[in-house]
């Protein structure tokens, strides 16, 4: 039923890293999977890059999202409560976000994605 579809909650994704690989994921969320998915936050060491990512997101028809610097990762988790965290940072930092993303206080479990492509 249309009303059931409208009421279904979309899965919430936070993207850590907003470089080339992140574009692949947020583009898919904003386009093919927009009925069931949404981006809820960007985190990066670089504000300019996050601002550009928000520009691209908006050009794809998705609302812009709050941005958090890497040092504000815990704050991002608490404030935006993502269901899943997509990590596309440089390889030596992946484990930091997998650990922090898993252990941040939350009343629900959270999947972490580690990007290799």
């Amino acid at each position: 039923m249309a009303s059931e579809v409208a009421a279904r909650v979309r899965r919430r994704y936070a993207l850590i890293g907003t470089g080339g690989r992140a574009i692949f994921f947020y583009t898919a969320i904003a386009q093919e999977y927009k009925a069931t998915s949404e981006v809820v936050a960007f985190t990066d060491t670089n504000q300019t890059r996050m601002n550009y990512a928000n520009q691209k997101l908006q050009a794809l028809g998705h609302a812009s999202v709050p941005t958090y610097l890497a040092s504000e990762f815990d704050k991002m988790i608490k404030e935006t409560k993502p269901d899943e965290v997509i990590v596309t940072t440089i390889d030596r930092t992946h484990n930091i976000y997998v650990s922090d993303g898993s252990s941040s206080e939350s009343e629900w479990s959270r999947d972490i994605w580690c990007m290799t492509c």
Binding site: N95, I112, C114
Partner: protein, 322 residues
């Protein structure tokens, strides 16, 4: 997934403490030709696989790009045998449903880097292309101003973190290899010879499987790319694929691959559906976890240890994955 043993352990720790899942996006598993290889091996078309010969060519467009970016420092990437070959070693684990036992490797920087350029008679150098007169004459220079997205992501952003996306591939400070050869014995007894070359004239790979029932040979030529430099749906898309099944005592047969366009051999779209779409049962079991991630990078980490020591490395001595 990550670059060394301590970081791998921290990921396993996080998973066991929280019970959360870690998904590793091995997109190459999903490419139709790679899935077809899995299907044929599983069906027993060439009997028991005894050895594999696998060579991967990164060309002077895509391959060179690793030597301009954060990847050029082994502390960031673990080197190409970890960062890039993770996909290839994962394919072997996936295709043969096994895991690595022992690794011997040799690796060198033979083309990129200042010293190699000097030995070829180059005598003009630069650190980064933007603002350099010398870079104007270098066919390997990346001019960020000429690419709208690269300029926005990196040139316009570098004042914040001093990350220069356009470093010279013939500069100093490169600590990764560009020429790598690896020998791996797997727990199921199969042996792999593998090479990765980062300055090839074409981009793609060839893999041959020897089995008790014949040979399977795959050649894939890919469209090359610079990350974020162009249309993402063509990054690594295939321009030509040939899969030959040569069963013993039979005529060779060219196997048709379902044609799926798109990036990374056509695997990206299928992967995205696995990640974001409605869950479906995948008969090929391609979804990968942190365990698959670890088993793949351990081959590269063991290879790095072998390169450094000159010794054969027992993978379980590096890290034993239950």
């Amino acid at each position: 997934m990550t670059i060394d043993v301590p970081r791998t352990l921290s990921i396993f720790d996080a998973v066991s403490k929280t019970g959360n899942n870690v998904r590793v996006t091995f997109n190459y598993r999903y490419a139709p030709h790679n899935t077809k290889v899995f299907e044929l091996i599983r069906s027993g078309a060439i009997g028991k696989v005894t050895s594999v010969h696998f060579e991967w060519c990164l060309d002077t467009f895509h391959g060179a790009d690793y030597f301009r970016r954060w990847h050029r420092d082994k502390k960031n990437s673990g080197g190409l045998l970890v960062h890039k070959s993770t996909h290839h070693f994962d394919l072997i684990n996936f295709w043969l449903q096994t895991r690595p036992a022992t690794v011997y490797a040799q690796g060198d920087l033979k083309f990129y880097g200042r010293e190699n350029a000097e030995s070829r008679g180059v005598d003009k150098f630069y650190t980064r292309a933007n603002g350099s007169e010398v870079a104007q004459g270098d066919p390997f220079a990346l001019h960020l101003k000429d690419h709208e997205q690269l300029k926005a992501l990196y040139l316009d952003a570098e004042h914040e973190d001093a990350y220069y996306r356009d470093q010279s591939v013939f500069g100093d400070g490169i600590s990764i290899e560009d020429t790598m050869n690896v020998l791996v014995r797997y727990k199921n007894g199969a042996v792999l010879t593998y090479s990765l070359t980062a300055y090839a004239p074409w981009e793609g790979f060839r893999v041959s499987f020897n089995g008790t029932g014949g040979r399977l040979e795959l050649e894939v030529v890919e469209h090359s790319y610079v990350n974020s430099g162009g249309e993402q749906t063509v990054e690594g898309s295939t321009s030509k694929t040939t899969l030959m099944l040569r069963q013993l005592l039979k005529q060779p047969e060219e196997i048709e691959i379902p044609s799926v366009g798109g990036a990374h051999g056509g695997g990206d779209a299928v992967l995205l559906n696995d990640l974001f779409g409605e869950p479906v049962t995948d008969e090929y079991m391609r979804a990968a976890s942190h365990v698959d991630g670890a088993l793949s990078i351990l081959t590269g980490i063991a290879a790095n240890r072998s390169i450094a020591t000159g010794q054969v490395v027992n993978v379980d001595d590096v890290l034993r994955i239950p």
